[in-house]
Symmetry: C2
């Protein structure tokens, strides 16, 4: 094994320098797992490319020595995307984290994959622009493209897939392609942007990313609203969507989770089913949207409707909401979090949430339910004692039952976290014969199965 590593490093050193390669135990361990409950495993070596040429060389070594590559951003994935399944070269993009170009007139930005979304937004703000996708974590843009990340703002601005205009990608055969261009739309060729976004490193490795950005809206207003039942909250959101009110965020947090949220974030929100809302637009338009929204909420029996116009109060809401996962982790230090991610048609969302709550109760599962309700996407954050076999078994069964139920409603097993290792077992069930089409594409573009194998899709090799 150590000869193997030395050989590998020798090959890598043909084009890279010593400072770009490590296999120190600490670094291997740091790169062995993500933020999920999935068991970690060390890669063989970690490399830090500084250019696309470096990545092309790494890919050539990978192919020559038949050792797979795993692109790595910030390790914030939730389904084991960056965990090796055997020998692996982890490509850490920490040193490829620059903004290459901001084209304010075109509402476009070109970045390297290692940049984090918060750093990107800090820079864009100076130009009156913002990057819309907000998954909570300060993920790398490369990782967000790889998993088609989304989050609280997708109900208005869309997912990562809706933002990507072009990717520079190093393929398994070492060729470097561009999947798109700088135009706002195109009907030319096959839509490789769509195919490569969400491909989780299994079709190629991104070295440059061009994203759509938006002008910072003139006004932003948040609101929080309480309901007696999840059903009435969801019905209210459905009505708001049908009325065409362009809501920018709409998050459901169940009553039990509010308790953890209050404790962790030192807030004092009523312990009831809660909707957190946000609106973006001009002042007069927002006033009218808010008024109309309030009417609809009241028609659906909301118990209060609190508007938060100033920036500080808005930030408290969204920080508290984003820290909810940490609030649970903080409350249950002996447990790990396992998170479901089904997304269903909004007309079935209440049904799916009831199914989840009933099954949590039956299996004595501890955790909360939070949802991007405008998209029909919700998470059950289960706190699991990983040393307790029955606890783990219950959580895994619960997840599987919920996925099957979600699929039966016309939904998907993952709305935003991606497949990775965790959702692999549901792929055939979800996609049916389309899974074979995916396998054909994977095999034709990566015949040696070198690109993040064992994630998203399984092929005979």
């Amino acid at each position: 094994m150590s000869i193997h590593v030395n050989q590998l490093i020798e090959q890598l050193l043909i084009s890279l320098d010593q400072t770009q390669i490590t296999h120190s135990e600490t670094e291997l361990l740091n790169h062995s797992k993500d933020e999920s409950y999935h068991a970690g495993k060390n890669p063989t070596v970690i490399v830090y490319p500084r250019s696309k040429e470096d990545v092309v060389h790494i890919m050539a070594v990978s192919s020559k020595m038949n050792i797979p590559v795993i692109p790595y951003g910030r390790g914030s994935s939730l389904e084991g995307h960056i965990i090796p399944i055997g020998d692996a070269i982890t490509i850490d993009f920490a040193e490829m984290n620059k903004i290459i170009d901001i084209r304010a007139e075109d509402l476009l930005v070109t970045v390297q994959p290692g940049i984090g979304r918060i750093d990107l937004n800090n820079e864009l703000r100076k130009h009156g622009l913002f990057f819309s996708v907000d998954p909570g974590a300060d993920a790398s843009i490369g990782g967000m493209v790889a998993t088609n990340a989304s989050g609280t703002t997708s109900v208005k601005y869309g997912t990562m897939r809706d933002q990507v205009r072009d990717l520079e990608v190093v393929l398994a055969n070492g060729s470097v392609i561009h999947t798109g261009n700088l135009a706002a739309k195109s009907s030319s060729g096959y839509h490789l942007n769509g195919l490569f976004v969400g491909s989780e490193g299994t079709l190629g490795t991104f070295t440059e990313i061009t994203l759509r950005v938006f002008g910072i809206p003139e006004f932003q207003v948040a609101a929080r609203v309480n309901f007696e039942t999840v059903d009435s909250a969801i019905d209210a959101v459905t009505t708001i969507r049908q009325a065409g009110i362009p809501i920018a965020r709409v998050e459901l947090v169940d009553a039990g989770s509010i308790e953890h949220l209050n404790a962790y974030s030192k807030t004092n929100f009523p312990m009831k089913t809660t909707l957190f809302l946000e609106f973006h637009g001009n002042e007069a338009g927002l006033a009218q949207d808010l008024e109309f929204t309030k009417e609809i909420m009241e028609d659906h029996g909301c118990s209060n409707f609190v508007v938060e116009s100033d920036t500080k109060a808005r930030n408290i809401i969204w920080e508290a909401r984003h820290n909810l996962a940490y609030a649970f982790i903080h409350s249950y230090r002996d447990k790990k979090m396992m998170t479901t991610d089904v997304c269903v048609p909004i007309s079935s969302l209440a049904t799916a949430i009831h199914f989840a709550r009933d099954n949590m109760d039956k299996k004595n599962i501890v955790g909360g339910i939070i949802g991007h309700v405008g998209d029909g996407n919700f998470h059950v954050s289960m706190m699991v004692n990983m040393d307790h076999t029955q606890d783990v078994k219950n959580a895994v069964e619960f997840n599987a039952d919920l996925v099957e139920f979600g699929l039966s409603l016309g939904g998907t097993c993952t709305g935003e976290h991606g497949v990775g290792i965790g959702k692999l077992k549901y792929q055939k069930l979800e996609h049916g014969p389309a899974y074979e089409v995916m396998q054909v594409i994977k095999k034709s573009l990566d015949p040696q199965n070198l690109l993040n194998p064992g994630k998203l899709i399984l092929v005979d090799s």
Copy 2:
């Protein structure tokens, strides 16, 4: 040849009945060409499927007899998409034109590919909903998916690709897949929706389409604005976009085209560079958007700003705009229209339009310039005497020069019309090594090259 046709019909009749098959000279001629200048060619036979099972059978016959299939909607394509290049079974979806399901709460509709967009909107209106993509022509939804159509409203609502949630597709090998699901977003598997939308019948044949729709906005207001120069009009639009004003349509028509538009549509618009605008939203928000837009327009030197609030006046504007192509055709009855379709980053749009105007003047090309300026997409409608060799040569050269120039600006050869036959020659130039990836995908999914061969992509066969 006639034995060949009889054999083919015999095979088709195994599952179809006589009323679903024709090879009458009139019908063959009707299906031999689209609305473009490309020379027509008769298919071998035309079939009218009534179900996906019919399409599966047609595909089996195609494969067995090695005769390609061409899906056909309404023949309104502009790049020869439905023109056979040799023997071909044209699959006309005229009898598969039903709405299968309207899920108002989910803002979804499922249709068969043969339905026209106007019929669809007439039905959706009863539910307070509308389908957003408006290419002008009353195209079939199947054809619009196949070419990733867009049009005047895409600046706000996106292109066809942004609307498609799921496609039922019959593949070359006869298997039937679904490319998506009913959830608002998904990070599961490869994004086959994205790949199949815009594939122009070359990867599979659609039999069912699920689309996102929108609630009809509370208020709609149109405006028309005149400028002395194209540059100032485009600068104004760029500022409006950066300011985050959610404009729903913004169309540029050059001064020369307004003359034809007035003559054909009996309007009396000033013969100057004109922007036609539309806003969708609530009453107070639109008032503020309009006011802000007017300020920006005036800052950029517009000579007047006419608001049209009532539905009739709005309809006059958009009908006149949509009929502009017919206005030109009407004015030059001895000529055919050849239309360019480059889309460039908006910061380069003025440059590209100047390049076009200068080259039109140099080559004595007759025609107008109209643009979906919010997207950076514009059309030069050239009126060409197809019997006049030099006229045709000039137009073809002009088109090629404009495409090359557009590509050099980071744009695309086609923003919305698709590749078909007409843009095939630019594909390698535009996509570089990514073209090989497209070829690999095409060959792996259609090894016999049976699916609309000679369109979008060329493969060795």
